[in-house]
């Protein structure tokens, strides 16, 4: 760590606060230096800590900081598929693909932005006081912050975000993946499950308990957490209620009846294992962390032609 580095970071932080706080770049540098040199805190963490101290002093929220780390107004303009790190300040040109119903009063708008490379969730806070985005409209968005939750990225619009309408249309890309293989496992937490009924909480109950809300009267749901394996790679696939019903032909009501007759919810997953394991499937859908969410599932029953493999085997 050189002094010049510290100085550069100190000046960047100083620039972000100079309108709001009476602090000199020297003060900032001293704080950074104490953390980095004396307490051996990594620079990124030191920077975060010092920034938070000044945010507190100024009574500001983090998203009120213009420019963000890196300072200045010039962010990188990125494609949504390139977003692979949280807390980056970026610019995007994207179309509002969908608007969803906000689940909280603090959110003004929430939905899906898309460009040629794919789609990404966005959130616009109520307190940021930004103009309304319209479905189907393309915007150039300056100064949005990336975020990550369970391996899934999103962007947050904030007070400093610039919104410009664009006339051009965008052909939104498809981020779905297709995986093929034998279903080699149906994991625990599959079959007839119960979810927490609390608003905004859909956690799966363990022995009638939600990890957040304690003992609750759960709501039944069907799900399969499966593993597809093609001999080279394994992919974990989640089938939601609709996909599970389509795959197994067993609907939720019937599954409940099966469980009731057997006095055990486990019979549902057992029957699914018997019907599905060891067979070949092709699954298409978006990824969620390490999972593929099954939108379309095809059972591969057609015979495969041995001829190509035979020619290959004979030519070695």
């Amino acid at each position: 760590m050189t002094q010049t580095d510290l100085r550069t970071h100190a000046e960047e932080i100083h620039d972000q606060f100079e309108d709001r706080l009476d602090v000199s770049a020297d003060d900032v540098e001293e704080r950074l230096e104490t953390l980095v040199e004396e307490y051996k805190v990594p620079l990124e963490e030191a920077r975060r800590s010092v920034t938070n101290t000044y945010l507190d002093q100024a009574g500001m929220e983090r998203d009120e900081l213009g420019g963000g780390p890196g300072g200045g107004g010039g962010n990188e303009t990125v494609q949504v598929a390139d977003v692979d790190e949280p807390e980056q300040w970026v610019d995007l040109t994207a179309k509002v693909v969908e608007l969803w119903e906000p689940r909280s009063d603090s959110v003004a708008q929430v939905g899906l932005l898309g460009d040629e490379s794919g789609t990404i969730k966005f959130t616009k806070w109520a307190k940021s006081d930004l103009p309304s985005l319209e479905e189907g409209q393309v915007y150039h968005l300056k100064n949005v912050v990336t975020d990550e939750y369970q391996g899934r990225y999103s962007v947050k619009l904030n007070r400093t975000t610039g919104i410009e309408e664009r006339d051009a249309d965008i052909e939104v890309g498809d981020q779905d993946v297709t995986v093929e293989g034998a279903l080699v496992d149906i994991q625990s937490g599959s079959g007839l499950i119960k979810r927490c009924p609390e608003e905004d909480c859909t956690r799966v109950l363990q022995n009638g308990r939600c990890s957040e809300h304690g003992e609750v009267e759960g709501e039944f749901d069907l799900r399969i957490k499966g593993v597809l394996d093609d001999g080279d790679e394994v992919t974990e696939v989640i089938f939601d209620q609709e996909a599970t019903e389509a795959l197994t032909g067993v609907e939720l009501a019937e599954a409940k009846q099966m469980a009731m007759d057997a006095l055990d919810t486990g019979v549902v997953a057992d029957e699914m294992r018997e019907d599905l394991l060891g067979r070949y499937y092709r699954v298409t859908g978006p990824t969620f962390g390490r999972y593929v969410l099954a939108n379309e599932t095809e059972t591969l029953t057609d015979a495969t032609d041995p001829e190509t493999a035979l020619i290959r085997a004979r030519s070695i």
Binding site: G151, A182, V184, D185, V227, D229, D230, G231, D232, E233, V234, D270, R273, E274, D275, L276, L277, G278, R279, Y280, G289, R290, L300, T301, D302, A303, T304, D305, P306, E307, A309, L310, R312, A313, R314, I316
Partner: protein, 209 residues
């Protein structure tokens, strides 16, 4: 991102090669480290997926139930699978199934040394399910492709003589076995020809599902 331990892939291997895979090893000294068998085509296997014809089941246990299942691939070579009290679902499948039937097995390779000093390779099933003939045929073609992938890789790696083998499992297979990979290429050809013949001259329905 997630740092959960990655699940072991299920290798595709014909019985002729599988039964030759008598050498086992671990990648670390940890007691719970996964055990691998070394496939003679130069790949490690901690899990296998196989589909074949269950031809015979037998309780070979002395005190407790211990079920043996014989599963035959298109070459007539046999996978042996054993399930006891620690694999209750698989054991009850073997107890209940009426051979002949097409079955799919996901399981762990295990080796066992007999009193005569011979090493037997078998599968300890995680699951056994009945499947149809199309699934079996698909498995044969897939297993042929995967085996050819390994053979080609082995041949590429060993083309320059003994010196320059970069792949550690190919090197290990050369070290531990004296088994020409040509054997397994021939097994692939036999298995695929078997499928072709069956298509040209459909046999009467085998096991009804």
């Amino acid at each position: 991102m997630s740092s959960a331990p990655t699940r072991e892939v299920a290798r595709r291997v014909l019985a002729r090669e599988f039964n030759d895979a008598t050498f086992t090893f671990k990648e670390s000294d940890d007691e719970r480290a996964p055990v691998y068998v070394l496939l003679p085509t130069g790949e490690r296997a901690n899990r296998v997926f196989l589909v074949g014809t269950l031809t015979e089941t037998e309780d070979v246990g002395e005190d407790a139930e211990y079920w043996q299942g014989r599963i035959v691939d298109p070459n007539g070579d046999t996978f042996f699978t054993y399930a006891g009290q620690y694999q209750p679902e698989a054991a009850s499948m073997l107890r209940d199934l009426e051979p002949p039937a097409y079955v799919a097995v996901v399981g762990k390779p295990r080796t066992y040394e007999t009193d005569e000093g011979e090493v037997n390779v078998s599968v300890r099933p995680e699951s056994i399910t009945t499947v149809d003939e199309a699934t079996r045929d698909r498995w044969v073609v897939e297993t042929a492709e995967r085996t050819l992938d390994r053979i080609e890789h082995f041949t590429d790696e060993t083309a320059d003589g003994d010196e320059a083998i970069g792949d550690e499992y190919v090197a290990m297979a050369r070290e531990e076995y004296d088994l020409p990979v040509e054997n397994y290429r021939r097994a692939v050809v036999d298995a695929l020809e078997g499928l072709e013949d069956a298509e040209a001259d459909p046999e009467p329905e085998a096991a009804a599902d």
